[in-house]
């Protein structure tokens, strides 16, 4: 059970003056239940890559396997794939269209051919999962705040009950509190339901806190692939491609340069705090 990509290449507007290579020979495998952070600068090919994973774009060359079967193969039912690999686009609240929140979330399950009751059942489930309070369910989605609209849109994808959830910058344009709540919700889906998560972001802090694995894209290529610690060791190369390691990584390196025996593999504020306390403790000042 996994997603596997082999030598994916995708070219926009092939054969014209506007030709652009969005993906260049990208290969990877994502096993079940992993939390993957996909990062890269704007235009690095992240969004193109994730659209391949549920068959919205066909690769120019290369193959994608979901649970061992080729999704570009003849007779493969893309509709089934899309119910298993849920994709939440950037600013997903722009796709809302129904009269009530509940009806909007029912749209996905109804497309799967479920009955009205089953669809509503799933929608209620998904709305609770996404943290929407019941009092909002019969309101118009257009009357909600930005953060709430986004939850409804995410619920719209969760109602398909996917095995893999891909989110493209789910926190873009939200205030810090909304951002933490959404990320916490996603992390809960991962921990409690064992969902495979692919989180696209360019905030290193967000990704470092939750992901087991980081994939870094640069100009259509996979530049780094490893645990957050392994990837952030390359913080100088990351800067060259317009990204940066979390701020605490810089702090750790700076402390080390000043002759302190600081660990440099810290990626979150909490880890940094512990490491600094440990350092201070060793000097007997705890």
């Amino acid at each position: 059970m996994s997603i596997r990509a082999e030598a994916l290449t995708y070219i926009y507007n092939e054969g014209t003056a506007l030709e652009q290579k969005a993906l260049d020979n990208v290969s990877f495998e994502i096993p079940d239940g992993q939390f993957v952070g996909l990062i890269g600068h704007t235009g690095s090919g992240k969004s193109t890559l994730i659209q391949h994973l549920n068959g919205l774009i066909k690769p120019t060359s290369g193959k994608i396997y979901y649970n061992g079967s080729d999704i570009c193969g003849e007779g493969y039912r893309l509709k089934d794939l899309r119910s298993k690999v849920g994709l939440v686009f950037q600013y997903p609240e722009h796709q809302l269209f129904e009269v009530t929140v509940l009806a909007d979330v029912c749209y996905g399950p109804r497309n799967l051919g479920l009955s009205e009751e089953e669809a509503a059942e799933r929608a209620r489930d998904a709305l609770s999962l996404a943290g929407m309070k019941e009092k909002y369910w019969n309101q118009s989605p257009f009357d909600l705040s930005g953060g709430q609209k986004r939850r409804v849109a995410i619920a719209g994808v969760l109602a398909m009950q996917p095995e893999v959830l891909i989110l493209d910058e789910p926190t873009a344009g939200l205030d810090p509190m909304g951002r933490d709540e959404i990320l916490e919700q996603i992390s809960r889906l991962h921990r409690q339901r064992g969902m495979t998560i692919i989180l696209v972001s360019h905030s290193m802090e967000d990704v470092a806190e939750y992901a087991d694995r980081l994939m870094v894209m640069n100009r259509g290529r996979l530049a780094f692939d490893g645990t957050p610690r392994q990837v952030f060791e390359h913080y100088r190369e990351l800067e060259e491609i317009g990204l940066a390691a979390p701020q605490v990584t810089y702090l750790a390196y700076a402390l080390r340069e000043h002759g302190l025996d600081m660990r440099t593999d810290v990626t979150t504020v909490k880890e940094a705090r512990d490491a600094i306390l440990e350092l201070a403790g060793m000097k007997g000042k705890r």
Binding site: A17, L56, K79, R82, L87, H94, Q95, Y107, V157
Partner: protein
Amino acid sequence: MIREITIGQYYPIDSVLHRMDPRTKLFGTMVFIVSLFIADNIWNYVIATVFLAAAIRLSRVPLRYMVKGLKAVLFLLLISVSFNLFLTEGEEIFRIWILRVTKEGVRTAGFMALRLIYLVVGSSVMTLTTTPNQLTDGLEKSLGFLKKIHVPIHEISMMMSIALRFIPILVEETDKIMKAQMARGADFESGNLIQKAKSMVPLFVPLFISAFRRATDLAMAMEARCYHGGEGRTRMKPLRYRRRDLAAYLTYALYLGCMIAARLLPAVLDQKIRWL
């Protein structure tokens, strides 16, 4: 999928035609269109072909890219060709059931097809080499005399450039919403007409909402920059004719002259023969 519509889209390269003043190109397109309507013999079409081929060559836009635009009018082309082919009276060549194909029919149908193709390709030469903004600037300047009779030409051209500017944005937006709904299992292709129309609701509602949102945002941004219409407004890049434009106008005159001469040629020859 819908990104493939190429008719009238700017093709960003550098060529003599790209650098030419938009007024020159507008006028040239008009001359070309008029000339197609006075064309009625083979010589006319030979001259028009040479003119169009030269323009395409100068624009350096691949021919394949221009022909792609024809897909949009293919249906119209087929209908008008078949009407002309089967319904023109004259000397019969052959007939299938009640459909008579005449010599005159073949001639008109052929010319009609050429005329339509040249119309589309000719105007795409202009739109492929001119950005929408240049185009409306050109229109505003060329139609400036209408201001004297209180036609709000600046406002009209501003509306046009905004509309043109928003086409690619809305196309992209449609593509995005379509994909987002497809990720939720939407199916825009199968089913009968009513089902298809129904399946468009989840596409059009968000699209309209986003169009209105963009419109209010844009209005706000324009007001914030003190936009108040055309009165007393100056340009950063004023349009100015250069030598290549003069050369172009001379070419147009020559071309139009040749076309008129070619059109009159058969009649003149006819008369000469009668005189002799």
